[in-house]
């Protein structure tokens, strides 16, 4: 269980998450959504133990992250930053092997399993500079999987991907959740959150404005409150699409 308790996070003097509580369950996909600047990425960093709380607490199975040794924390929580640039042109396998750093072992079996889970075996010797965007996203996720964390926290893992690759990476994340890992993703695309998450946290100005099953947390009135747009969902469950238009008064203000 990964739990935030009255969590306050600050960047410099500015509070970016103000008093947020949520208990996240393993074996599910939790999506964090919200308008730009809502504090989504900061919350994810806080949950990963990479941004120390100004007050409040984040705990992993009852242990406060602040008190865990960084390596023990890293063994439990894998963090996938948003589209990191890769400093050295290493081969896929060497990059994935970095995921074993928290364990300080070779972890041959875990690396092989991560490569196989993301269909990367044919690419294992390829330099990362020669990968397509979709392959690269899979390699970066495989690096996290190689560490066999109980939690996978990913910041916009689907943002730079085309439709087919979004679906394939989503399927991989679902497989992780089915295997019992906790998956927490920051998403921009509300459709992806609606169709694939088990639970959605909606943030605005550092606070939760909705938390629950996707069709409840992403109901049109929440979207109106969070983004200031009039929206409705169309289509079948698991393949719904959002149709949105500016609220008349919001449109007025935007042009104002």
């Amino acid at each position: 269980m990964l739990a935030a308790d009255n969590l306050v996070l600050a960047r410099g003097a500015r509070a970016v998450v103000s008093g947020l509580s949520a208990v996240l369950q393993p074996g599910t996909i939790t999506a964090i959504v919200g308008p730009n600047g809502a504090g989504k990425s900061s919350l994810l960093l806080g949950l990963a133990g990479l941004l120390a709380p100004a007050s409040g607490n984040v705990s992993l199975d009852g242990d406060s992250l602040a008190r865990l040794h960084p390596r023990v924390r890293a063994q439990g929580i894998g963090y996938l930053p948003q589209a990191p640039d890769i400093a050295w042109d290493v081969a896929v396998e060497a990059l994935v092997a970095l995921g074993r750093l928290p364990w300080r072992d070779r972890g041959t079996a875990a690396i092989a399993a991560a490569l196989s889970a993301l269909d990367l075996e044919p690419l294992r010797h390829r330099p990362v500079s020669q990968l397509s965007g979709g392959e690269r996203a899979r390699v970066l996720l495989a690096r996290v999987l190689a560490g066999e964390p109980r939690w996978i926290l990913a910041d916009e893992p689907l943002a730079a991907l085309d439709l087919a690759h979004q679906l394939s990476l989503t399927a991989h994340l679902k497989a992780c959740a089915q295997a019992g890992q906790g998956v927490v993703v920051v998403l921009h695309d509300l459709g992806l959150a609606m169709n694939h998450a088990d639970r959605v946290l909606v943030m605005k100005d550092g606070r939760l404005i909705a938390d629950g099953l996707p069709h409840i947390a992403l109901a049109p009135q929440v979207i109106a409150q969070g983004w200031g747009v009039r929206a409705r969902w169309l289509g079948e469950p698991e393949s719904q699409a959002l149709i949105a238009a500016e609220e008349p008064e919001q449109a007025e203000r935007n042009r104002g």
């Binding site: 990479l50 040794h69 390596r71 929580i77 930053p81 400093a87 290493v90 990059l95 970095l98 750093l101």
Partner: protein, 332 residues
């Protein structure tokens, strides 16, 4: 030991005997015997070769670690204040000149250079340690501020060195300072070896401790922290390792630039390109480069021997330009 280490260890094994034979006086292997030959070998060429290996190894390893830490293949350990601070310490010892008791005179230059390097390390760790991002703040400037702190320190030390030169107590001190600033290995003895070798070995060992943390930085600071890397510990190891290797080198040989920049590039193609795979082979390759360069300078038919620091900069600057061009083409 990886493939690159074996390659450069083998190259070094070839270079060492060659370098012992090369010089103003060529020694043919058949000439080994009592008298001058043995004296030249044992008291002149062997310490000089060991010193070249020591300094090259320190600079090579420091360069590999520095490029890994800054995630930048154009980084050079000389840029980050420690070498200029060590040089400033050495210049101060020239300046003091006769004020130093005669019993200490022989040791004052290397010791003051080491003191300068130590001061540089401390300042760098204090400034960069305060600003490095960690779990407590997360909003620090991290590596960028480390670079700027180093550059600040380098320019301050450079300015003070220039001041010392312009205010030199006498022309003799002036020419000695200027000569010394362009590093060289001429007329060195076992004494310098005993100063530099243990410190350099300790420095390389410290850098090796930081190696896997440097690998984690491949994916950026946040990813590295998420894998359990502690930024302050890494910074401390890095500053200590660079300080020991570069400081020891400057203390006994003056400023020798570009080795730390060039060597990792020679090594990278033979490795998986992760910083941890580069440190040991870069030490060996740095040893090869400095030993080879110093030996070639000894046999060049010039009126006076070309200073090693100048010669390596003459090779290194165009190499840097070539790296820039390659980087522009996205091939680095």
């Amino acid at each position: 030991m990886n493939r690159a280490s074996l390659i450069f260890a083998a190259l070094l094994a070839v270079l060492v005997p060659l370098s012992l034979l090369a010089g103003r006086v060529w020694i043919a292997p058949a000439d080994f015997g009592p008298g001058n030959t043995l004296l030249i070998l044992a008291e002149l060429r062997l310490p000089r070769a060991v010193l070249a290996i020591t300094i090259g190894a320190g600079l090579g390893a420091a360069g590999a670690a520095m490029q890994g830490y800054l995630r930048n293949p154009l980084a050079d350990p000389g840029l980050f204040g420690i070498a200029p601070m060590a040089a400033l310490g050495a210049v101060a010892s020239f300046w003091l000149g006769t004020a130093i008791p005669p019993a200490w005179a022989a040791w004052s230059l290397p010791l003051m250079a080491l003191a300068g390097a130590g001061l540089g390390m401390t300042l760098l760790a204090l400034i960069a340690g305060r600003t490095s991002s960690d779990a407590a703040g997360g909003a620090g400037g991290g590596i960028a501020l480390f670079t700027l702190a180093g550059l600040m320190l380098a320019s301050l030390a450079g300015a003070l060195t220039a001041l010392a030169i312009t205010l030199a107590p006498n022309p003799f001190a002036l020419s000695e300072i200027v000569m010394w600033l362009n590093g060289a290995l001429t007329d060195r003895s076992w004494r310098e070896v005993w100063i530099a070798a243990p410190l350099t070995a300790a420095g390389v060992a410290v850098l090796a401790l930081a190696a896997r943390s440097l690998d984690a930085l491949t994916l950026g600071e946040e990813a590295a922290r998420s894998m359990g890397v502690e930024p302050r510990r890494l910074l401390a190891l890095l500053v200590m390792g660079i300080g020991l290797t570069v400081g020891a080198g400057v203390a006994v040989a003056g400023i020798i630039g570009f080795v730390g920049l060039v060597v990792p590039h020679l090594v990278r193609p033979f490795t998986d390109r992760l910083p941890s795979s580069l440190i040991l082979p870069s030490a060996l390759a740095g040893a090869c480069l400095v030993l080879a360069a110093d030996s070639v300078l000894r046999v060049l038919p010039l009126v006076t021997e070309l200073r090693l620091g100048i010669a390596l900069s003459l090779i290194g600057a165009p190499f840097f330009g070539w790296l820039l061009l390659r980087m522009r083409q996205g091939r680095l």
